[in-house]
């Protein structure tokens, strides 16, 4: 893949982040550098606590880096912005809003006229297979359905980059596989840049063009693995010999980091 000729959509430039903890300063990210191309699907794996969410929150603009910066289309980001949509692991649906009202939220904020908001919302609800649930409240939905709503809500706001923080982490294996397939389909259609955090190596390989492996505390990029398996990828891809090779390679790297955390 000739990523070099592609436009850099997102540039993470020497991002360093420390938290004030009870035992003094704690370095969460120690100089992270990464260029993400337009339309690229990136997965980030690494042991728990290595700073994946911190990095995502910095890209989202919900956290400020202690030093370093993130650039979107060459422009330094400051705070949140609708060009960067986020899907959280805990769904974060507004429980007092119905499915359609949740999906409409971003459009309401953009002051899109009401008749259009509803039309766009319906389109994305349909895209995630939730037709007929427009007027349900989140409490009436299963975990998988809730996350579908969250994805539809993020897409409806029409971001250029989608940031997903272990979005399928809380779901059962079957639902997770289903949502992976759906997300891949949407990505192939909409071609949005995706930054996807997971702790599931299979998931990372199935989805990503590049898998970023992060090292244990303090978080740094340890290795970047190109996933040279062509799309469209399906669940059958998991028995592809190349898949198994890549899985062994990535798993080994992640496992070393996991051991480092245990020490």
């Amino acid at each position: 893949m000739a990523r070099e000729d592609k436009l850099v959509k997102l540039k993470i430039d020497n991002v360093y982040k420390e938290y004030e903890g009870r035992n003094g300063k704690m370095v969460a990210l120690n100089g992270v550098n990464l260029d993400i191309a337009e339309n690229e699907f990136i997965c980030v794996v690494g042991p728990s606590g290595c700073g994946k969410s911190t990095l995502l929150n910095i890209i989202a603009g919900l956290l400020e880096p202690t030093s370093g910066a993130v650039y979107l289309d060459g422009k330094q980001i400051e705070g949140t912005g609708v060009e960067r949509g986020v899907v959280f692991q805990q769904y974060a649906l507004f429980p007092w809003r119905t499915v359609i009202k949740n999906v409409m939220f971003g459009l309401e904020m953009k002051k899109v006229p009401k008749d259009q908001t509803e039309q766009i919302a319906r389109k994305y609800i349909k895209a995630v297979g939730l037709e007929g649930f427009e007027n349900s409240y989140p409490k009436e939905l299963s975990g998988g359905m809730k996350q579908r709503v969250a994805i539809a809500r993020a897409y409806a706001a029409n971001p250029e980059v989608l940031l997903l923080d272990e979005p399928f982490g809380a779901l059962d294996a079957q639902t997770r596989v289903q949502l992976q397939t759906e997300l891949l389909n949407t990505w192939e259609q909409e071609k949005k840049t995706c930054f996807f955090i997971t702790h599931d190596v299979d998931e990372a390989i199935i989805l990503a063009q590049r898998v970023i492996i992060m090292s244990a505390r303090p978080g740094r990029i340890k290795k970047i693995v190109n996933i040279d398996i062509p799309y469209p990828r399906t669940q059958e891809t998991k028995s592809h010999p190349r898949f198994l090779e890549l899985k062994a390679e990535i798993w080994n790297e992640v496992y070393q980091e996991f051991l480092a955390v245990r020490k």
């Binding site: 507004f94 429980p95 007092w96 706001a157």
Partner: protein, 261 residues
Amino acid sequence: MNEKGTKKKKIVISDKVWLLISLLAALLVWYLLSIGEATGRSFPFADKVVPSVKTMIDRGAFWKDIASSMTCVGIGFGLGFVTALPVAFLMAWYLPIQKIIEPWINFIRNIPALAYAPLLVITFGVGQKPAVILIWICTFMTMSITIYQGIKNIDVTLIKAARVLGANDFDIFLKIICPATVPFIITAIRLGLGAALTTLLAAESTGAQAGIGMRIRSLSNSFESAPMLMYIILLGIIGLVLLKIVDMIERKLTGWQEKIN
């Protein structure tokens, strides 16, 4: 579908049956108390208590007492609510305000209202005014703390989610904080009404001319236990009715809420 329907219905019926059983058991206990030699003096049975409603109406006290008490509770609680709401938001928004005010509230809240009621009389004189102020103070403290804690417990992920979807501070206040606070406001109203009713006796000890609390006191001086008990039960019924109304409002406003059964 059908099965589910009938199942639900069954539960409703059995709940009502339980209520009936509970009521009958209460009547039985009441009856047993009424035939006891010593307890009978304080707890005359329903056949004496119910007619005392008419006695009190004939004396021209019954409706006046209810009106007077409800006026105190209504105004006191209303003032408590409209002051607690902004104070709760201010405490949640500005740390210094919270740091200064919360300890006051927690300190005063532990003191029985009856203890400082006389102080209010010194400043505000006797009658309804100090009664209203006392109820105001008590309901304000309960409600401001409850609403404040509710605002503090709002899931920050929801605020983050709104933020990344383009919401500004004003949107977040109006479209996230406000709806997320509604369940806590309703809890606060419930606790506030409870506080208002329990404070009523202390409030009407401030030289009120009428009122349920004042009447219970004066009837006790003349050892009229039947109307006294009637007034006490009346207080309970008023509390129950008010809570039912709050329940109805709650169902309307917070049907979206996930419930733990």
